[in-house]
């Protein structure tokens, strides 16, 4: 299939997603539940993540980027499609195999306030995953590893005795990162991992994520809506809209030479922190709003807002085509 072929040039893919669909049922009634519709959160996505790369997954709320991440983490069981992790299809794994998988795949969430247990000290938060996976069974060695993890993440090892509420947002996010690293994973899904942080703290955490990637040979799926952060951190970027990947390419290629009309509009909408640059940029905001994924438009899902749509776009959903080497676009009107 399409995207699966663009990997030969680089290392073998760590993750390969094929034809992924995640439809959530909408039900009605309390006793006799009837299905009255479905939310097509992810609707036929092909994607590969190479070993050692950071793949950015961007798009606006409701585009399916978080659901993609949750499917790859197997926090959701996809409706359809395959997810190959290191060559094994994990889309329908049983519980036992899932536990083993989660030693290799970890996640960092957006909100450092709600993703840490407020009643546990940091030491306990970090040693729990080690216990679950049988890493460092000796309590003394485990405590030692907790201290090491904290210091790797730029925190004082004594923070093991603190509760999350005694720390700032940036420090809590460092604990969230340390917890992901506790089981020595190879792949981390970062779901809006720096979005809730203030600018000055955000830069610290971005640098930390880069250092850790190098130190532990990590692969990241970096889900974010902040395009500037994605440009800084990622090697390749996939742009999603209403459950579909509309563009996929090397990072600088997406930002300097966007081809899909949605990507173009998205990039133009982001103001740049430089008044001189801004004075020379003119742009037309994209009209309308993202349609509901319950009843997405026919054909190309972007056609109602697209400035270059033609009649054909209402009928045939566009294929993701490789228009330049490594640059994939799902639009029938660009070449």
């Amino acid at each position: 299939m399409s995207v699966a072929t663009d990997v030969q040039s680089q290392a073998a893919p760590l993750v390969e997603v094929r034809g992924l669909r995640m439809h959530f049922p909408i039900t009605e009634g309390i006793i006799a539940r009837r299905k009255i519709g479905q939310v097509k959160a992810v609707d036929g996505v092909n994607l590969t993540i190479r070993r050692g790369e950071t793949l950015g997954l961007v798009g606006e709320s409701g585009c399916g980027k978080t659901t993609m991440g949750r499917c790859i983490l197997r926090l959701e069981t996809p409706t359809e499609g395959a997810i190959f992790y290191d060559g094994v299809d994990i889309a329908n794994l049983d519980r036992r195999s899932l536990v083993a998988l989660r030693r290799r795949i970890q996640v960092i969430f957006q909100d450092p306030y709600s993703s840490l247990n407020p009643r546990q000290k940091v030491g306990r938060i970090l040693s729990e995953p080690m216990k679950v996976h049988g890493i460092e069974p000796d309590p003394a060695r485990r405590t030692q590893r907790v201290r090491e993890l904290l210091s790797v993440c730029g925190l004082n090892p004594n923070f093991a005795d603190r509760y999350p509420h005694e720390m700032s947002g940036g420090q809590r996010q460092r604990v969230g990162i340390a917890r992901a690293l506790a089981v020595d994973p190879e792949f981390i899904v970062c779901d809006e991992a720096v979005s809730a942080l203030d600018v000055s703290i955000q830069a610290q955490i971005i640098n930390l994520l880069e250092d850790l990637r190098e130190k532990f040979n990590l692969t990241y799926l970096f889900i974010a809506h902040d395009l500037s952060v994605v440009r800084h951190l990622c090697q390749r970027v996939a742009v999603m809209y209403l459950g579909h990947v509309v563009e996929l390419a090397e990072c600088d290629e997406v930002f300097d030479n966007p081809l899909h009309p949605y990507t173009r509009a998205l990039l133009a909408a982001v103001p740049v922190p430089d008044p001189t640059v801004e004075a020379d940029r003119s742009f037309q905001p994209l009209p309308g709003e993202v349609p509901s994924p319950i009843n997405p438009p026919s054909g190309c899902v972007f056609h109602p807002r697209c400035p270059i749509a033609v009649d054909e776009c209402q009928r045939a959903p566009p294929e993701l085509r490789e228009l330049r080497p490594g640059h994939w676009v799902a639009c029938s009107q660009v070449s």
Partner: protein, 334 residues
């Protein structure tokens, strides 16, 4: 022309369990008629509290405006009675907040919320108010206004609700609108629509705008002048171009360097501001940015620097070393 709004030495305090917090600590600035002034800063810098203090919307207790004057159209807002202040809020000064879902009343229709404003502030009768409401929704780009007026906030999308907020803010033809993070909760493409709308309308109607944001890109695109806040004080202010191209306060310099750029390929690692944001209950008599500042010297511990002219005309910085900063910066980079 005299300024439309002049804030002089505004001070707001909060009594908390951890101690006294000086959330706004001696803030002074002006806004001219028709001008867009941005207030930037990170969480806890006092940017929102400063705006709420102007409108006298600080919950007391725990908070209290303990000093300062807010001159608006020739009157000191701090000296008005509660009834007079209610007329100013929404009447002469419009407000747009971050969360349109929580700032609109969920049990009243959109139409009622707009007409209520007009009836309260303008004494309009139902029919005139209704007509004006339809006109206002058209102004903020909501199609099918007559039908929308009968809808409730939950029936609208986030972007649509923020348009309604803007319509309400504009309803009584204010001279000033205070917008606190007006687009932070919205998606990028919707954010762009709302900001363009606000810019067009404020220009066309000659309304001054104070926009409070943490987004340096929005400031660059829309603001004429900028106030940069840190730990309850304005540390630098001036024309947007000067602030961005020749900042004279170490915090502004560091802030601009710490954001990744959308319009340039990645060049190097980010240069973050080290350390943690200040704990406002534990500030000493020195400069609050000192613990994170690359250029701090002994003098910085002795007192808080005042906001003095620095760099370009109209530019001010509160730093003892602002005059030497540009040479220090080049020295560090070399």
């Amino acid at each position: 022309m005299p300024p439309l709004l002049e804030v002089r030495n505004l001070r707001t305090e909060f009594r908390t369990g951890a101690g006294l917090v000086r959330a706004v600590d001696g803030v002074s600035y002006t806004v001219d008629p028709g001008e867009t002034v941005a207030v930037v800063g990170e969480s806890g810098s006092g940017k929102s509290v400063g705006a709420l203090s102007i409108l006298r919307l600080i919950p007391d207790p725990p908070g209290r405006v303990v000093g300062g004057e807010v001159m608006f159209a020739g009157r000191d807002l701090m000296k008005l009675s509660d009834a007079e202040m209610r007329k100013v809020r929404g009447g002469e000064i419009g407000m747009v907040f971050q969360e349109p879902m929580t700032s609109l009343n969920p049990v009243l229709t959109i139409g009622r919320q707009i007409t209520e404003m007009l009836e309260q502030h303008r004494g309009s009768d139902r029919e005139t108010a209704q007509k004006r409401a339809i006109e206002l929704l058209g102004l903020v780009g909501i199609a099918d206004a007559a039908r929308r007026l009968k809808q409730y906030p939950h029936q609208l999308s986030g972007g649509m609700r923020q348009r309604v907020m803007i319509a309400i803010a504009l309803a009584c033809e204010p001279k000033l609108i205070i917008a606190d993070e007006p687009t932070t909760a919205l998606d990028v493409t919707i954010q762009a629509q709302i900001l363009e709308l606000m810019q067009q309308l404020t220009q066309r109607l000659g309304v001054a705008l104070i926009v409070i944001t943490h987004n340096l890109g929005i400031v660059a695109r829309y603001a004429h002048r900028v106030n940069v806040m840190y730990a309850g004080r304005i540390v630098e202010s001036g024309p947007a171009a000067s602030i961005y191209h020749s900042p004279r306060h170490p915090y502004t310099i560091a802030l601009l360097k710490s954001v990744p750029r959308l319009d340039r390929p990645r060049q190097a690692r980010l240069d973050p501001i080290e350390g943690q944001p200040p704990d406002l209950t534990r500030l000493d008599q020195g400069c609050a940015f000192r613990p994170r500042c690359r250029f701090a010297v002994e003098a910085c511990a002795a007192g808080v620097p005042s906001l003095d002219p620095a760099g370009a005309p109209g530019q001010f910085a509160a730093c003892f070393r602002s005059a030497e900063l540009s040479s220090l910066e080049t020295g560090r980079a070399a």
